[in-house]
């Protein structure tokens, strides 16, 4: 009886076909529930939407929604709702895009940004993961590092840009360090939280089976904290994209940030949009990529 009541509540709350279908799937095993008129109705509705799984549909919607937005924008500019000087039509931006791709400008700048992002993520993410997991495991270390993190985390990363330029100069190092700082904090904070949320019994098991410190680290702490660590990496990459754009606007001769800044200086609005869209696309692709990585390295979590 409890399952039926529970299911009815969910049916009442289900706003999308996807949710309804998930419930329908749950219902399939529950013959009693089919007798309930409200439930049968929802089941039929869910079946009409096809045999696709909810996660597959989510992925397709993920791709369609930005495309729909571009179409609306094109219409808005052509009909004069948007001012074409500030919001050139996506088709115009696309022309510029073709030009920039053709002469290699876009690729060179994207590649420069990607390289900085990669090295920055590695430089910030790996130490953050190691330190965060160690902090989660060892209380004294947490006591030492926690106040430092709490004190430095709220400082806007862009505000330390001049200091980073002063220390690391105008070259690659300062850009990479900016990204590293952006990635470091979310990964660290999530790794600490991830380890601390691991049920104590798993650490007891590790101790009882004579796992060494390093074995506890690799077989319990890291995999146990991995779901939250992945969230930290996603947040960190997002922060890295923001910071790389800012860093490249100051004293850089390449990169998407530089391209956008330069476009502003020469008043090439379309180029500016190409840069913005490229960054947006990168963010979107990173999210897809990281979700896919998460699916592969956390198989125990995605079982439904």
């Amino acid at each position: 009886m409890t399952t039926i009541r529970h299911a009815n509540l969910e049916v009442g709350a289900a706003s999308s076909a996807g949710e309804a279908e998930e419930i329908a799937h749950d219902m399939a095993t529950n013959t009693e529930a089919a007798a309930h008129p409200l439930v049968t109705n929802k089941v039929r509705q869910a079946r009409l939407s096809g045999g696709m799984s909810a996660s597959n549909r989510d992925r397709i919607i993920n791709v369609i929604s930005p495309i729909a937005l571009l179409v609306l924008w094109e219409i808005a500019t052509r009909t004069g709702i948007f001012d074409a000087r500030f919001f050139p039509a996506p088709s115009q931006i696309f022309d510029t895009l073709v030009t920039l791709v053709g002469n290699g400008t876009l690729w060179n700048n994207t590649w420069a940004s990607l390289q900085r992002l990669f090295w920055g993520a590695l430089l910030g993410g790996v130490p953050a993961l190691m330190l965060g997991v160690a902090m989660g495991l060892y209380r004294p270390l947490r006591a030492i590092v926690d106040p430092l993190v709490s004190a430095t985390y709220p400082v806007p990363k862009s505000a330390i840009m001049p200091l980073i330029l002063l220390i690391f100069g105008l070259g690659e190092a300062s850009k990479i360090v900016m990204v590293a700082i952006g990635v470091f904090y979310p990964v660290l904070i999530n790794a600490v939280a991830g380890v601390r949320e691991i049920n104590k019994v798993y650490l007891d098991v590790g101790h009882n089976f004579r796992a060494s410190r390093w074995q506890v680290f690799t077989t319990i702490a890291v995999p146990g904290a991995l779901p939250l660590i992945m969230s930290g990496i996603k947040l960190g990459i997002g922060m890295g994209l923001i910071l790389i754009a800012i860093a490249e606007m100051i004293g850089a001769k390449s990169g998407l940030g530089y391209m956008i800044w330069n476009a502003w200086e020469v008043l090439s609005v379309e180029t500016m949009y190409v840069g913005l869209l490229t960054i947006a696309l990168l963010g979107f692709l990173f999210t897809l990529l990281l979700n896919e990585i998460e699916r592969v390295i956390i198989p125990w979590r995605v079982q439904r």
């Binding site: 798993y202 007891d204 098991v205 089976f209 077989t219 319990i220 995999p223 198989p299 125990w300």
Partner: protein, 278 residues
């Protein structure tokens, strides 16, 4: 209140594996010092299936955790006979879910051997044997969240046995299971145990479980946990759980243990209620 020394009990010829003397464990809590265990003195012979039964809050889990080296005693001594060379001292089967959710059934069962860096051939053989023994071979690649509670606890048993410890410590391993699963797992545990006859220390709040599995039962008092009495279980081995329970002698044993335990449960409840009122 008298603790019967193991040496005075009939039929005791095996050497002592675990010797506990005047063990005490107390914790500091906001309400003051709480004595969880007091005056525990106990000898457990090698190869004995030793049961500890007592009301909740009698410190039986604390006693097991001290033996597993997960906690240190406040006072007293614990001597444990050294295992064979290369053999681990003890492996624990924990209460409730303790399988790593991020490892497959196989990797969970292989955990102890992997931590001791045993060769792959040995791990394959031993883990394969115990997974077959508990009927989980088909589920070797499954993750714990795909299994039922009974299956998960089977894998915990395989994990402990595969590690081939000198002593097995079991902390109410079946308490979360339904009655049918419980009986089946008790049966399976007895069968696997018969192969090796390791020293077992098994904690339970179920008198039935204690009388079914054990060679000897220690009844504990609560607040603080003390040894009230040690009872010998006269039944022959190998045992079959349901056949055993049909015997009149089984009923008598359970009844007499219940008599001892009821006083303790009532006393513990009175103490708890007193604490609530004050």
């Amino acid at each position: 209140m008298a603790t019967v020394p193991a040496s005075t009990l009939a039929g005791n010829v095996a050497p002592v594996k675990i010797r506990i003397r005047d063990l005490e464990k107390s914790f500091d809590s906001p309400a003051g010092r709480v004595v969880a265990l007091a005056d525990i003195s106990l000898d457990i012979p090698t190869g004995c299936f030793f049961m500890i039964v007592g009301p909740s809050g009698c410190g039986k889990t604390t006693l097991l955790r001290i033996l597993a080296n997960l906690e240190t005693p406040t006072r007293g001594s614990v001597e444990i006979g050294s295992p064979a060379v290369g053999q681990p001292g003890n492996s624990m089967i924990f209460q409730g879910d303790s399988l790593f959710p991020w490892m497959t059934v196989w990797d969970n069962a292989a955990y102890g051997l992997a931590m001791r860096k045993r060769p792959k051939s040995e791990i394959d053989e031993v883990v394969g044997h115990y997974l077959a023994r508990i009927g989980m071979t088909r589920f070797a690649k499954a993750y714990p969240n795909q299994l039922s509670g009974g299956m998960r606890q089977r894998v915990s048993i395989a994990r402990a046995f595969a590690n081939n410890p000198d002593i097995l410590l079991m902390d109410e391993p079946f308490s979360a299971l339904d009655e049918q699963n419980k009986v089946m797992l008790q049966e399976e545990l007895l069968k696997i145990w018969e192969e090796t006859r390791k020293t077992v220390l098994f904690i339970t709040h179920s008198v039935d479980e204690a009388a079914t599995l054990g060679d000897r039962i220690m009844i504990m008092t609560a607040h603080p946990g003390r040894a009230k009495r040690i009872v010998d279980v006269p039944f022959d081995r190998p045992r079959h759980v349901l056949e055993l329970r049909a015997q009149p002698a089984y009923g008598e044993l359970v009844f007499s243990i219940w008599g001892e335990l009821r006083e303790e449960v009532q006393r513990a409840r009175a103490l708890d209620e007193g604490e609530v009122r004050s």
